[in-house]
């Protein structure tokens, strides 16, 4: 079973790495932000798996914090940092 | 090599990256990013070197890193405010060519 957990972790990590491609490519800021959101979720998943794998309950707290704060950056993006479309960030 | 070794070496790499970013990047926001990355690298070395020990992880570096993270966030916040203020005053978010020719304000 632990091997499964670890394999799952590795898989999720690889998954995460693939998602990075979207962050790099964009093309719009929204896309990048979406990818970040996916990261957060994946990280929560990884943490939960690891908590189970290592028997470290505290990692669930970490996951909880992630889950709680996942929205903060995205909201900050939407409310503050999302550039107007005429800005160069959003040009494909 | 243990896993901790990976992280310690990654920390070294982050330090190098941070240094380089700090040196060659002009934009202040990026310089602040570089400082943060540099700091993360140092923290990684600090904890990573502790490695897996028989007596369990050494809590002292953990405490030190937590302290360091708070310092980093404080400094980053201050740096951001400074950068914004500077950009408001000079129109540029960089330090380039802004030799203080004019006198300071009395």
């Amino acid at each position: 079973m632990p091997d499964l957990y670890h394999a799952l972790t590795l898989f999720l990590l690889l998954n995460l790495g693939a998602g990075l491609w979207r962050v790099v490519r964009g093309p719009t800021a929204a896309d990048r932000m979406l990818a970040a959101q996916l990261f957060g979720t994946t990280a929560v998943a990884i943490l939960l798996v690891l908590a189970q794998a290592g028997g470290v309950a505290a990692l669930r707290d970490v996951a909880l914090v992630f889950a709680l704060l996942a929205a903060v950056a995205a909201v900050a993006f939407v409310r503050r940092a999302w550039p107007q479309p005429e800005d160069e960030h959003d040009r494909p | 090599m243990s896993a901790a070794g990976f992280y310690a070496l990654a920390g070294v790499a982050l330090v190098v990256l941070g240094l380089y970013g700090l040196a060659v990047q002009a934009h202040l926001l990026r310089k602040l990013l570089a400082v943060n990355i540099l700091g993360s690298g140092v923290f990684l070395v600090l904890v990573g070197l502790g490695g897996p020990a028989d007596a369990g992880p050494d809590p002292v570096p953990h405490a030190m890193v937590i302290t360091g993270i708070v310092v980093a966030v404080s400094a980053t916040a201050l740096g951001l405010v400074l950068m914004l203020k500077l950009t408001t005053t000079s129109g540029r978010p960089t330090l380039e060519d802004d030799a203080p020719r004019e006198g300071p304000e009395a």
Binding site: - | L19, L22, A23, V24, E96, D97, A99, P100, R101
Partner: protein, 413 residues
């Protein structure tokens, strides 16, 4: 008691004229001229001989009045009285300065006469010399001024030579009195010493071939100066020769030189006097001739090993006479305007060369000036402002990284 009085008297005849010479004093005295000379006259009449030793003055000075000196003192009194009369006729604007200078020269003259040792003699000769320079310049024409320039050049040179001679003598024999000079001068040093002294006093006396200033001065200077010329600087210079050179020591060479120069001067002066028809010129040549004659005689004495003692008493009297004689001739003669000068002084080539020398010298100095140490700190100017200010680029970061690398690698190596 009398000694004290005499001492005070000796002092007074020197100091009193100097005091009166101050214009502020002079102006407030009745008959200042006579008053100034009075102590000298009084002393001359009342005292035969007097000495005053002043060990704390300069290098231990002394004043002395003896029979020989009385002759000369008398001459001086007469001459200066006459000169005072002449000066009184001058342009009132010039009178005060002339009187002052006359009194200064008088003091110098009397001091030289009375001095009992060479340093004192030298001191007073300075007083006389520079005072007389003033007299020549004062009230004379352009010719007189030129003469004065020549004179002062000769004077400075002569004083220097005398200073050297004196140093030599003092070094050789630690004696600073005239009396002590006689003995230990020997060989080359003796020749050097006598050569220095001879040259110095010949310069001061204006003997041929160094006579240019004398003739010029006699033609163009103001009357009082002309009157004093022979009895003042010239005679005093000859007196100096007499005092400074150890007569009777068999200084052969010095004697020969003196004789030769004296004869040449005599002949030259006589020939010139005969060649020039103008009577106004004659006193000048007479003075020259007289000087030459005196020198000739002096040379004789100098060269003689013995037998000059008899002449000793005569010398001052002779000098006094020589001082008075031209004065008599010049008494009423007017000065010649400088414009009519026909014979240039023989040193005129110097005047032609001098500018060139001056240029050369100046060039040399310019060269030297460029060798000065580097300029002081550069001043701050507008242009230096524009270029400065800090310029902070990224390179320090790179350097820092380099240094970091160097440190780390250096330590690991």
């Amino acid at each position: 008691m009398t000694e004290l009085l005499q001492g005070i008297g000796l002092w007074l005849i020197l100091a009193w004229p100097l005091l009166v010479a101050l214009p502020d004093v002079y102006r407030h005295l009745p008959q200042p001229w006579l008053l100034a000379l009075a102590p000298a006259a009084l002393l001359l009449i009342t005292t035969d001989a007097a000495t005053l030793d002043m060990p704390w003055i300069v290098f231990g000075s002394g004043l002395e009045l003896d029979s020989g000196r009385r002759w000369l003192l008398g001459m001086s009194l007469l001459l200066w009285l006459a000169a005072g009369r002449l000066a009184a006729r001058l342009d009132p604007l010039r009178q005060p300065a002339t009187f002052t200078l006359l009194l200064i020269t008088f003091s110098g003259q009397v001091g030289m006469i009375l001095a009992s040792e060479p340093v004192g003699f030298l001191c007073f000769s300075t007083l006389l010399g520079y005072g007389f320079f003033g007299l020549l310049v004062q009230g004379g024409g352009a010719g007189a001024r030129r003469a004065a320039r020549l004179y002062i050049a000769a004077l400075i040179l002569a004083d220097l030579l005398l200073f050297e001679a004196l140093l030599l003598a003092a070094y050789l024999q630690e004696a600073q009195r005239f009396a002590g000079f006689d003995h230990r001068l020997e060989g080359e040093t003796a020749a050097l010493y006598s050569g220095l002294v001879l040259l110095a006093f010949l310069l001061k006396a204006g003997i041929w071939p160094l006579h240019a200033w004398v003739t010029a001065a006699l033609r163009t200077a103001a009357p009082p100066a002309r009157l004093l010329l022979m009895g003042g600087p010239v005679v005093m210079a000859l007196l100096g020769l007499w005092r400074w050179l150890p007569a009777g020591q068999g200084l052969e060479i010095a004697g020969q030189v003196c004789r030769a120069l004296g004869a040449a001067a005599l002949i030259y002066a006589l020939l010139q006097a005969l060649r020039r028809p103008q009577p106004a010129r004659r006193p000048g040549w007479l003075v020259l001739a007289l000087g030459g004659a005196l020198l000739l005689g002096f040379g004789q004495v100098l060269a003689a090993a013995h037998g000059w003692e008899g002449a000793a008493g005569l010398v001052p009297a002779l000098l006094a006479l020589a001082g008075l004689l031209p004065a008599l001739l010049l008494w009423r003669q007017p000065a010649t305007p400088a414009a009519t000068l026909e014979d240039e002084p023989p040193w005129t080539w110097l005047a032609r060369v001098q500018p060139r020398l001056g240029r050369l010298h100046r060039r040399l100095l310019d060269g030297l000036a460029h060798l000065r140490p580097p300029r002081p700190l550069p001043p701050v100017t507008a242009s230096s402002l524009a270029g400065s200010g800090t310029r902070v680029t990224r390179w320090p970061w790179v350097i820092m990284a380099l240094a970091l690398l160097g440190l780390v690698l250096g330590l690991l190596a």
